[in-house]
């Protein structure tokens, strides 16, 4: 039985293809609209990025590639044996330029984010009660138009923030692509999973 790997067609796909190529592992060439691709040695599932940890946690996929940001937000109980060293970005708190962020002045901070779980935990750890507004995209707009006091979002180059008059006021977490592995597969199919993990580990740039 071959291992099943969950991937998303989002921004991590190119890095994953390059990594598998260097490791000499099969990778689906043109995935088209098919959601399951069998290459013989590995079976690939294409799902939404936020769903990769879920497929792996339930064991539908043995392994998957997901950003650390997505793994944190999913709260899935999965193993993360490899930092794949691509797709680097950070999660940060941002708000309109020049306004800073002063928790002590407000009794509640209203935060807009695609990462409600991460955002809630971040403010809770600082003893701040946060009202988190979950958005599906264009999160910057929420801070610009006053839907929220600040946002928690992914920052890569910072250009989008800049163009919308926002600035980072606080880091939440660094993120990069991770190999996530189902806990039962890791133990009950240790040899196969071990070979796969080692093949990738050898070709991660240090």
């Amino acid at each position: 039985m071959s291992l099943t790997v969950a991937l998303s067609k989002g921004k991590l796909l190119g890095g994953a293809a390059a990594l598998f190529g260097r490791a000499g592992l099969p990778f689906p060439e043109d995935e088209g609209r098919r959601l399951v691709m069998d290459t013989g040695d590995l079976r690939f599932l294409f799902v939404k990025d936020m769903d990769v940890p879920t497929y792996v946690e339930y064991g539908v996929a043995d392994c998957g590639i997901a950003g650390r940001d997505v793994v944190m937000e999913s709260g899935s109980d999965v193993y993360e044996p490899l930092d794949l060293a691509f797709g680097r970005c950070r999660l940060a708190v941002a708000r309109p330029k020049g306004r800073g962020l002063d928790y002590r002045r407000a009794s509640t901070v209203r935060v807009a984010s695609k990462y409600p779980r991460v955002a809630t935990a971040h403010f809770l750890e600082r003893g701040v009660s946060a009202e988190v507004v979950k958005l599906a995209g264009s999160v910057e707009l929420a801070a610009v138009l006053g839907l929220a006091d600040c946002i928690v979002d992914v920052v890569e180059t910072g250009r989008t923030l800049e163009e919308n008059g926002l600035e980072v006021v606080e880091d939440v977490a660094a993120s990069s692509a991770r190999l996530v592995v189902n806990r039962a597969s890791y133990h009950a199919r240790r040899e196969e999973v071990g070979r796969f993990v080692d093949a990738l580990r050898r070709v991660i740039p240090s």
């Binding site: 064991g59 993360e80 592995v181 039962a184």
Partner: protein
């Protein structure tokens, strides 16, 4: 009646009918026969107790608690182990150790239903309280293996660890409890990058840093114990833990159980609770563990009868799901045999006939037929 008109069901509760219920009873009977075979006595503890009986970090916020008429705070049992420890120290205080007790029943936890985890869980397990700790560890593992064999679980693996290894490595670091928990959580996730980040954040350097980083990759067969002994030579407490684990694994190997166990030193759950051996049972075809166990030598002192203890439990819900996926059925076909119909045109004679067939052990279905 349309679906919308039906009575709503709260999330997380379970209900089983007919064949599904029969399969669960068969699973329970198989596990219980193994427990009895190793001379464990059944204990049927109360469904609820004072909430403080269940006070533990792992269960905090997960118990269904309520206020009794006298104003005391009560809770529905979220696990069996703490209840059994309390009973062993209380009404069984006169019984000499070791005590061997098993249970089978529901526990209730306030958890969002996900990943094979409902609010109502059915656990089958046992506790070995007091006695020789090394022998007890081996005994409990042997029982766990035999349960999985008896249930016909294909490809099962017990992943063994010892929390004393991790605890021994960080013993002299003076980490705050929150940085220790962050570190433990990353070790448990086998996340070397995350472990490095947590160590750096807590200012841990040198030999301790190298050793803890090494921990995430120390999983596999028994040979990792040798590797760990060499790597952790500077940490006597970790070495003592490794020695315990080596003895346990050695005993299982001599009984031919080496292929069912693996060693994983990154298995570091519940440091406030477990004190030695920890293990989890896994099988292919089920994404989460079937059961888990470990040594908890400090729990009984909380109830006033300090003694070492080890236990394990299997989740019946997960075993049932796995057997369904592996297309294995337990139990006797006879229970599902077709019933014999008793025509009830005349009720008195029909009842006489039905009772006669029942007396000879047949399965009857009363009231079928042509009553005018």
């Amino acid at each position: 009646m349309s679906a919308l008109q039906r009575s709503p069901v709260p999330p997380g509760v379970q209900c089983f009918v007919g064949a599904a219920a029969r399969q669960r009873r068969a699973i329970e009977a198989a596990a219980v026969s193994v427990f009895e075979g190793w001379d464990y006595e059944e204990i049927i503890p109360p469904l609820y107790d004072y909430a403080d009986a269940f006070a533990s970090a792992a269960l905090s916020g997960k118990t269904y608690s309520f206020v009794g008429r006298d104003g005391s705070l009560l809770a529905l049992r979220p696990d069996f182990t703490s209840l059994i420890a309390k009973i062993a120290a209380g009404r069984l205080a006169d019984r000499p150790a070791p005590l061997r007790l098993y249970y089978s029943g529901e526990v209730l936890r306030y958890e969002p239903p996900k990943a094979g985890r409902q609010s109502e869980l059915y656990q089958m397990g046992l506790e070995h309280l007091g006695g020789d700790a090394r022998a007890a560890d081996v005994e409990v593992l042997a029982i766990a293996v035999e349960c999985l064999e008896r249930l016909g679980v294909g490809g099962a693996v017990l992943a063994l660890g010892h929390v004393g290894v991790f605890a021994g490595l960080v013993a002299r670091t003076e980490l705050t409890s929150s940085s220790l928990e962050r570190l433990r959580e990353r070790v448990d996730a086998r996340d070397a990058a995350g472990v490095a980040f947590a160590l750096d954040g807590a200012g841990v350097t040198g030999a301790v840093r190298d050793a803890v980083l090494h921990l995430t990759s120390l999983g596999g067969d028994a040979s990792v114990l040798g590797e760990a002994r060499r790597a952790f030579a500077a940490f006597p407490a970790a070495i003592a833990a490794l020695e315990e684990l080596r003895e346990t694994v050695g005993a299982l190997q001599s009984a031919g159980l080496g292929r069912v166990v693996s060693v994983d030193l990154a298995e570091v759950r519940g440091l406030d609770y477990y004190t030695g051996l920890v293990f989890r049972a896994y099988a292919p075809d089920l994404g989460f563990e079937l059961g888990a166990g470990g040594r908890y030598d400090t729990l009984l002192a909380r109830f006033g009868r300090p003694m070492p203890a080890v236990g394990f439990m299997l989740g019946l819900d997960r075993v049932a799901l796995l057997l369904e996926r592996q297309a294995r059925a337990l139990g006797d076909g006879a229970a599902a045999a077709a019933a014999e119909s008793i025509a009830t045109a005349r009720l008195g004679p029909a009842l006489v006939e039905a009772r006669a067939r029942r007396a000879s052990g047949r399965r009857v279905r009363f009231g079928e037929g042509d009553r005018a």
